[in-house]
Amino acid sequence: MDFLVFQYPMITLQACLDGILLGVLFALIAYGMALQWGVMNIINIAQGDLVILGGYIAYFMYLYGIHPAWGVIVAPVIMYFVGIAIYKLVINKVVDRDLFISILATFGISILFMQLMNFAFGADVVLANSGYGTTMLFDNNVVLPNSKIFSAFISIVFAICLVIYMKKSKLGRAIRATAQNARAAKILGVDTEKVYAATFGINAALCGVAGALISITFTIHPYMGLPYTIRSFMIVIVAGLGNLPGVAMSGMGLGVFEEFADYILGTEFRIGSVFLLLVLILVYRRFKLSRKREYLK
């Protein structure tokens, strides 16, 4: 235990800002997960692996001399088609089955992706350098890498675009209608098959954006996907489906929670604390649910 973080207000501030910037990025990934969970009732275990794949796209652009920031444009485009392909090959066969089957299927996809990425890109840890420099605040006591600020900013931009798209466009409305009631939507002429494919594609595209941002801010590695899946799962569990402000808030909350856990318990418990929190929240929700049931009786 280390309470340094509370002794210096600057460190507290630093932890909060780091957490919020990180949390916005998590929220973007989680939003994709919430979207497809809500629409297709699929929990995508391969979410994190799609993120890492997006990261590799940005990394390869960087290798070939293109600034990795362009990855936030290119990665989602490529990943959209990857998403569609995964949907056509696997997901459409499990989409109306129960949740357990879809978890197994996406778990399989996750393992496959890890191994394929390892095979194709090697097991080396890589990163893309943006060369964005650093912002110093409060007499150099609080440092914010511009790459983190950039990634939070891009995440917000994409989230806003997506919300507008969902509200205004035809496909967006079709997606929302399918989420509310797939059968009714189908009767009213919505091609749900198409909607499912598009939803999965959009989710993969969001993962692509997040991956490109992660390759700029952190590091990527074929086996690093799972923590991102867990985090987005956790955010969605807390926020609930179809609740974008909730996803954003719980994303940032998780980011800040992680930073504080890092300072107080030590970096080794960072991911562990997320798991612990997930268990606590699941237990709490179950507890709440069971109380409700009793009340209904």
């Binding site: 090697g122 110093m136 590091t219 300072y263 970096t267």
Partner: protein
């Protein structure tokens, strides 16, 4: 249905029979000495696994083309059976069993990483199969009393204690304040123990002692503490992830620390991935091509590096060099034992005292090589931004002078 069952059991009985009888060809067939190795060709260690395999292959080709191994007046050639252990310790142990009990291998080469070596060592020990390994540095490998395990490399606890001693020396012999962050795996924790020893020896104080998770990609919290507490030395060890993450975040957060010491810089291709940001980092290495050790097969480090580059198209990391050295050790032991008896070869290995291009090799009773110090190199960049690793310690091999303290970010 019953017939099916009968056929099935018949076929499986046949398969079992075949697999036990056919595969058992022995360790020395005709003029070939067959060594076995489980190597990580897939999975998370695959890049270093390939470095290891390339090192082995390079030495096999070289020794075979330069006359092979002479035992009992006859010339033999090396051959290696490889299996892919998928970077998985359980799989590695199974494969070691298979190499020994099915393929009849009587001499083994080590896998990549301390963890996998740890998994294999009990198996080779059980069967009394001598194993020369080149990539398991964890101290715990050498305290178990293994009799058939020999490591050509220096144990992990010696990786960075040179750095602490150098820091104390540069501080006028006065103790220093150390900040350290280590991943939670066998290897990095051994490096940490080495630092603790060095700190105690020099009376230095450890002011930050962080542990890093396996899925590390953010160590901002540790670095914020470093910024506040201003230690004299920052030590980081977390494989390639640790090295890359540390350099990225130190540069982004403009953390000023007089000395930064790490492991795995060359495996992480630090200077290539980070360019000038990696400048001044001190890195522990088992080997560097500029060292002046010599042998008959590879001549010296520079020649080895050039030959390796010609064959495999990249500059050899130390993982390849030490793997090549393992074959030289085997050849030397076979010739001195003048026999393929496992006990005699084992005793010959234990009595090894030789110089290779990789370094001097002499085994302690625990099996670790005690005759080869670690080297420290520092990443140094010129004005054009091209960076190079230059050996700075021990002084005997230094090709450049250590730059200390590291200039502040505001002055770079």
């Amino acid at each position: 249905m019953r017939l099916n069952k009968i056929i099935l059991s018949f076929v499986s009985a046949l398969v079992i029979l075949l697999s036990t009888s056919v595969a058992s060809f022995a360790k020395v067939v005709g003029d070939k000495i067959i060594l076995g190795a489980a190597i990580s060709l897939t999975g998370k260690y695959s890049s270093n696994g390939v470095h290891t395999q390339n090192g082995y292959n390079m030495a096999v080709d070289r020794i075979n083309s330069m006359g092979g191994v002479k035992v009992g007046g006859k010339t033999y050639k090396f051959d290696i059976i490889y299996y892919d252990d998928e970077s998985n310790p359980k799989r590695a142990a199974q494969l070691a069993e298979r190499l020994i009990s099915q393929d009849g291998v009587e001499f083994m080469l080590g896998p990549y990483s301390s963890g996998l070596t740890k998994a294999i060592a009990p198996v080779t020990e059980k069967y009394g199969v001598p194993m020369v390994e080149a990539n398991g540095a964890s101290r715990s490998l050498f305290t178990k009393g293994y009799k058939y395990l020999f490591a050509v490399l220096a144990p992990a606890n010696l990786y960075l204690d040179v750095a602490i001693e150098t820091a104390v020396e540069l501080n006028g012999g006065k103790p220093v304040r150390i900040a350290q962050a280590f991943e939670q795996d066998a290897f990095s924790q051994d490096v940490r123990l080495g630092i603790l020893d060095a700190a105690e020896r020099t009376g230095s104080k450890i002011i930050i002692d962080d542990k890093l998770p396996k899925e590390l990609n953010d160590m901002a919290a540790t670095l914020v503490k470093v910024k506040q507490m201003k230690p004299d030395v920052l030590v980081v060890s977390g494989h390639t992830k640790g090295a890359l993450t540390a350099i990225r975040q130190i540069a982004e957060m403009k953390v000023d620390v007089p000395m930064l010491a790490m492991t795995h810089c060359d495996a992480a291709k630090l200077s290539k991935q980070h360019g000038k940001n990696s400048q001044y980092a001190l890195c522990a290495s088992q080997w560097h091509k500029s060292l002046t050790y010599k042998d008959d097969f590879f001549k010296d480090g520079m020649t080895y590096a050039a030959d390796f580059e010609k064959e495999f198209g990249y500059d050899p990391p130390y993982q390849s060099a030490e793997s090549s050295a393992a074959l030289l050790v085997f050849k030397d032991a076979f010739e001195r034992a003048n026999s393929f008896d496992q006990k005699k070869v084992r005793d010959a290995l234990a009595a090894t005292n030789m110089q290779t291009f990789y370094g001097n090799i002499k085994f302690a009773p625990g099996g670790q090589n005690v005759d080869k110090p670690m080297v420290l190199f520092q990443v140094m960049c010129d004005a054009s931004g091209s960076c190079e690793n230059k050996v700075v310690a021990p002084l005997k091999w230094a090709s450049a002078k250590l730059i200390h303290p590291i200039p502040k970010w505001s002055e770079r």
